[in-house]
């Protein structure tokens, strides 16, 4: 068992998610917001603006004309999509590095995060959920805890793996048992420290649905489902494999059928190359 306090202290070493993420989320969720309000926040940050324009011009969106300004991006793509791209760019600073403990190479965790967020958005729209930006951002940041826990997983991998392989533990349960804290719980603490809403903290903390009570939370369930779909597609799966629990009742509660499930996979698979190119454009070293 490790000294949990010393693990939690590591949060301070990371660069926190910038304040603009909160502002962009607030604007995106408010139907009264104007284009210029969103634009004003974005243009203030040169790196985010440049990433936004690169992504907007990537094959993923296939826009007919070159987009050269934030204003133009909003006109072409709408506030919703621009907000997503800004959240992606600003929120993912810490997710780009390789995570050795999880056997994820440089860029893997980020591709996973972006894919989870895009799939979560698709599910949220399908189901008619509110607070789509909350769901999108939570799915994007849900595995932020892995960035800190990776080192500890690496040091204790054999013990964790034994619990998973021989004792039927999920990888998250084994992390908690061996290290004393799991990546979801740690991610929740990080979100709290970075001043995210209680709702966001709860979704990140419960994204593997550790208790029955979290299954009734629709936003958490959507993020959970997006994660399950990524795992099946092999996106962002590392040394933890698919050793998490599938709760069929959650699928039913969300009103999704097995066919919906496969359709989401097929739709996303069709776009995966474009997603990869967008992720690369915004990716490590950019």
């Amino acid at each position: 068992m490790n000294d949990i306090a010393s693990i939690i202290k590591k949060i301070d070493i990371l660069k926190p998610v910038p304040q603009m993420v909160h502002k962009v989320m607030a604007i995106a969720e408010n139907p009264e917001s104007s284009m210029s309000e969103l634009s004003k926040i974005i243009v203030y940050d040169a790196a985010v603006t440049s990433n936004l324009l690169k992504a907007a011009n990537s094959a993923y969106f296939g826009l007919p004309d070159q987009v050269n300004s934030v204003h133009q991006a909003i006109v072409y793509m709408g506030m919703e999509q621009v907000a997503d791209l800004v959240l992606m760019s600003a929120g993912s600073e810490n997710l780009k590095e390789a995570q050795e403990g999880y056997d994820l190479d440089t860029g893997d965790l980020w591709k996973y995060s972006v894919s989870s967020a895009l799939i979560a958005r698709e599910l949220a729209e399908k189901i008619g959920a509110k607070d789509i930006h909350l769901i999108f951002t939570a799915a994007l940041l849900k595995d932020i805890g892995k960035v800190i826990l990776s080192q500890y997983v690496k040091d204790s991998f054999e013990k964790i793996d034994t619990l998973v392989t021989d004792k039927g533990f999920t990888f998250r349960e084994a992390e908690k048992e061996v290290i004393g804290i799991d990546h979801a719980e740690l991610g929740g603490l990080m979100a709290q420290k970075w001043n995210f809403s209680n709702k966001m903290v709860e979704i990140i903390k419960n994204h593997h649905l550790p208790q029955k009570s979290s299954m009734s939370e629709i936003e958490t369930s959507i993020v959970y489902m997006a994660d399950m779909i990524c795992m099946m597609m092999g996106i962002g799966v590392g040394s933890d494999g698919l050793a998490y629990r599938f709760h069929q009742e959650v699928v039913k509660r969300l009103g999704l059928t097995e066919r919906d499930f496969q359709e989401v996979i097929a739709q996303f698979a069709e776009k995966i190359e474009q997603v990869e190119s967008m992720v690369r454009i915004q990716g490590p070293g950019s």
Binding site: M232, V237, G238, L242, E258, E263
Partner: protein, 150 residues
């Protein structure tokens, strides 16, 4: 899906999850092929299957073999390897895409008398497979547990 007779080529399919990787190799023609499919049946979306046949088992597997035959491979000489199809814990029935992906390839090979030389399918682990076209060497990587030559 990639099929090649280029002696320099190393065919790779990363991180399969519940998807299945099928590798085939003809040591005489020195032709190799690698397919990574995600779902069992193209009836889900025939339009999509036309555009992306490699996404589904029932359209992807025949396409893989046909492409290898075109480069001179012969069915009776093919070495066949099947990996992937992992499952999330407690994933059952129709929702168990990994299991259904595995069943799809087994049925198809049974019907067409294709013998599998090596299979590593199911469980919760994540797999990556590589095939060197010049000599048919195949490497299987299991995330967190390293890579081995088959």
């Amino acid at each position: 899906m990639k099929v090649s007779d280029d002696m320099e080529a190393l065919l790779v399919t990363y991180s399969l999850g519940s998807c299945i990787g099928v590798a085939i190799y003809d040591a005489v023609a020195r032709v190799g092929g690698l397919l990574h499919y995600m779902l069992p049946e193209s009836s889900l979306d025939p339009e999509k299957a036309k555009k992306k046949p490699y996404m589904f088992a029932d359209t992807g597997i025949p396409a893989l073999f046909k492409a290898a035959y075109k480069l001179g491979a012969k069915k009776q000489r093919l070495k066949v390897i099947v990996v992937g199809g992992s499952q999330i814990l407690d994933q059952k029935g129709f929702f168990n895409i990994g299991k259904r992906n595995e069943t799809a390839v087994r049925k198809m090979f049974h019907r067409n008398n294709v013998i599998v030389d090596y299979a590593d399918v199911g469980g919760v682990v994540n797999r990556t497979i590589k095939l060197a076209v010049d000599n048919g060497d195949i490497w299987l990587k299991v995330s967190g547990k390293g890579e081995k030559k088959l």
